[in-house]
Symmetry: C2
Subunit: 645 residues, 2 copies
Amino acid sequence: MVTSESPKDPAADQIRTVLDGRWADVRQHLRADPDFPVAVPALELGLDEHRARTLDACRALAGSDFVLGAVPPEQGGTGDLGGSITGLEMLGHGDLSVMIKAGVQFGLFGGAISNLGTARHHDAHLQDALQLDLPGAYAMTETGHGSDVQSLLTTATHDPETDEIVIHSPSPAARKDYIGGAARDARMAAVFAQLVVAGEDHGVHCVLVPIRDEEGRAMPGVTITDCGPKMGLRGVDNGRLMFDQVRVPRQNLLNRYGDIDDEGNYTSPIESKNRRFFTMLGTLVRGRITVGAGAGAAARSALAVAIEYGLHRTQFHYPDGEHEVVILDYRGHQRKLLPRLARSYALALAQNAIIARMHDIAVGAESSENAQRELEARAAGLKAVTTWHATDTIQACREACGGAGYMSANRFTDLKADTDVFATFEGDNTILLQLVAKGMLTNYQADFADLDTAGAILFGARQLSTSVIEHTIGGSLIQRLLSGAPGRDGDDALRDRGGQLALFEDRESHMTETLAMRLRRSGDDGSDSFRVFNDAQDHLLEAAHAHMDRVVLEAFVTALDDAAQGPGRDLLEKVCDLFVLSSVEENRAWYLEHGRLSAGQAKGVVARVNELCDELRPHASTLVDAFGIPDEWLTTEMMDDLAQF
Amino acid sequence: MVTSESPKDPAADQIRTVLDGRWADVRQHLRADPDFPVAVPALELGLDEHRARTLDACRALAGSDFVLGAVPPEQGGTGDLGGSITGLEMLGHGDLSVMIKAGVQFGLFGGAISNLGTARHHDAHLQDALQLDLPGAYAMTETGHGSDVQSLLTTATHDPETDEIVIHSPSPAARKDYIGGAARDARMAAVFAQLVVAGEDHGVHCVLVPIRDEEGRAMPGVTITDCGPKMGLRGVDNGRLMFDQVRVPRQNLLNRYGDIDDEGNYTSPIESKNRRFFTMLGTLVRGRITVGAGAGAAARSALAVAIEYGLHRTQFHYPDGEHEVVILDYRGHQRKLLPRLARSYALALAQNAIIARMHDIAVGAESSENAQRELEARAAGLKAVTTWHATDTIQACREACGGAGYMSANRFTDLKADTDVFATFEGDNTILLQLVAKGMLTNYQADFADLDTAGAILFGARQLSTSVIEHTIGGSLIQRLLSGAPGRDGDDALRDRGGQLALFEDRESHMTETLAMRLRRSGDDGSDSFRVFNDAQDHLLEAAHAHMDRVVLEAFVTALDDAAQGPGRDLLEKVCDLFVLSSVEENRAWYLEHGRLSAGQAKGVVARVNELCDELRPHASTLVDAFGIPDEWLTTEMMDDLAQF
């Protein structure tokens, strides 16, 4: 966003190139595409109108390149997974209902068919899903169990008499809840349920269940209700499903990881029930990366609006009595927006890195199981920290625009309400950080194998066989910088990129070691191991945060290293400094408590954050311009008002 | 909120008595009053329906005891100001549109007539305002100037020819904006404008201006537009007003502090233009206290819902594989909710104290100008910290209820959206904290008198003649506790109430002293003094926070001292400990940097917060029950769902 008067800073284009990353062409194409449904906010649309508009927008995307990208060529897609997620991220600058509805239809519903199904499902349904000829739903969460997917209550029981699978909701707690698409549009649901074959429970599997006929009437035995009004995402028709002994053919079981053969026997290529479960859940990784990407985009939209406003809005006079102060010149205002801007940059670059990695793993450029596990842990953590960052940043931006920020025409209403649930869906953030922590503890696993057996520790997380603490992105560069770091003195460390990396890594390592020591103290009986876990839960969550700070910084440093020399890169170096310094500032109690910074150094960190705000202030417009959000996607009434003053 | 099965803890009633405070009878009366318009949330009402419903609810309140309480007996009220604000606070547990609309009509519009007007206005309009026979608006904020009221652009020019006052909006920036009541209902507005008499500008005054006729048509020269959809408070009809040479009789000037005599001369009982301005603005104190009270009530509602949910919702199994864990048993969950619960208690008690003090000042039990100034600073600070606390707490509570928290039927939608603007209106929180800081610097005023002359420092704050650092509430008790404090050793200090008070006060004093030193460095020329102020702004805002922490703790300690001995008080002592320890935890970097806590002591603070969460967990239900929010005011779908499991 740059006003017409101000000539564009050439640094903006250089920075945009860095931010656009590997799928820059996808971004550029969508920016220029007049049909790309980055709809303006839906002020005061009725619930049904908004839902209809959202479905229409998804239809406009159906079958497009970036929808087909999610599916490999052998299933009829283009296999450009990275381009596909990047496209969804760009949708995040518009009406987020469209992004989420598209994510549910193409990513979750289509993704379940593609990833959990086999040829018979691909042939029968995949193109219909991608073309939106078959509106679908992804029915995992139940009213009684959300995070704890392993304990879902819905049953899918094989009936050898008729060779059908019987889907049933045994209790109110088994009701499928908050299911996008269920309330209005979906005709088929990918239903997660305990698969019972010959009386034996084989754990959670996914079955395709028709829930509406062609005329939109609920199928026999399926009770559909509407979740009704929500805080945001009004265009997404979330609903509830109850199944009363609903029969579908055996072939509707998505059978890639578990099947029932013609003799009615259960078979699976994965012996361990637990490992099978987590392999199926691994398909969630795309959704999590998409949500993180969308949250990041929404935060950048908010910052672009608030910083542009802060550069034009004045309040109170200078002592000269003549001129009024531009509000972004106030230190308090800079402190509200600029450290969050720096963090948004860091997260955007980390997002690019994870999209690239997911893409490479999907196309087989990197194919170890460890790589997949590491990706899952990283995706979980990045989703958690980015969605929380979005909530925090959008709030700060709203407040930074005062009363105008409260008016729906100025965007924050939808940005705030729509992204609020991002902290919860596709994995509750707290649970996701536990998954990260589990990965961090892998090096220590021999010490508390018994706890893993007990199954109580680190709920929802699967055992990794490699430590996520390794430098999977930018490895050699990071090692080089670390080995050139000036040692432990806080002053030097803070001035040197390698020193900054070492500071972040030191915090993470220390927290991980001490966490492992605490968890090791557990006795043998089960209840005690819960106590040990629970007593350390706050420590564990903070360690996961420390890990993600390090991962995000490494992505920033790697992107900087790849960037061409020039004023854009110089400016980005400063943004990286602000990200580092403001992170250290926020956690400086830890650095003080653990002797990593002296009191004087810690005060110096605060002073340096102020200086960096000062230094970046003249470039604020350049830095939001570099986000590359077309002006017409971010029109607000308040900027029109200011233009008249 | 207590479920029917669990017998009520007798401590709940004891604690409720403490929380109910001096106007317990008002609270008890309203809890039992079936006509009290604590409406359930207005799910999916159209904008106009919601506005109509809100107006109806305000009509139900019109002329009631607690509306009349805001006005002294000599003006036809009851003079029970404390009861009046307490009643508005209770409304805060319901649809906040009603609370705000009532606040605008009775508090701001009625309040302007009562406090800024004289007998002629009281006789002509006050009863009509209080009975809602004359729907009104309070037209202060303009599109171009919100926080900087002194720079408003609207003019009110005396025309000696016709003896009228001409109200005019000279530019788009002069448009009155976000004005509650303007869009739909108000027939008269209290318009703040620069009063020009005989060519001389006498600063901002307030004039009553009819804006609609009896049929609801805009008066000639008045252009009314609708602000349209907002993030929340949909029942409040915010609008915009432009005046094109609108003429009203000279008598419409609210002339208590500035008048035009029959000869067309300006007169005022207050010589200093600046002092006059701040005296008029002093009437804002009631609005600020009301907003703080409402924010506190909303945060308590959110906590009551989220804690009750956390006590019944389970997720993941214990290692025994049989039982599922109640989510409030997780330390991470306790940490989300219990420190915020403790702070809510502290703020509620501080709110009670300020309402009592305002009441006593209003009825003349305490009448010095210093007392009024101190009240204004305290009200500003309490409004800022309580509204931010509400935003933060409601968000945490929403997330603590997962997907259910996102459904509008579970209350957080409205709680979040409605309270969001509280950080902005009735004074932007950042500006309000600057006002607090100005009060804190009073003892140092001789050192930088020149800065005050320059007028650049501490925008929007008026000079106090007494330091707000004095113990105006609970003074002798606090002094006694402080003098019995065990000295500077962190361990002892944290265990002793006097020591805790000393720790808070020490932080505040040190920050204030160092702030004064920094501000003193200013040179003589105006622009430099801006730089000096601005460089210290982050320091200044943190000092104001430290001040408010201390003020709030003193209110808690005073209320504890007044409480009857018993299990309720014992529990409250622990809540107070959690408030103190979690505040110290949050600011422990400062305590470490300034040698107030050793690294070991700082780690001990974190551990103690965990212990206190553990100790309070069994009493969580009692502690939200003690809020005294009737069950039927907080009905949610998700609790009904859980009851069926």
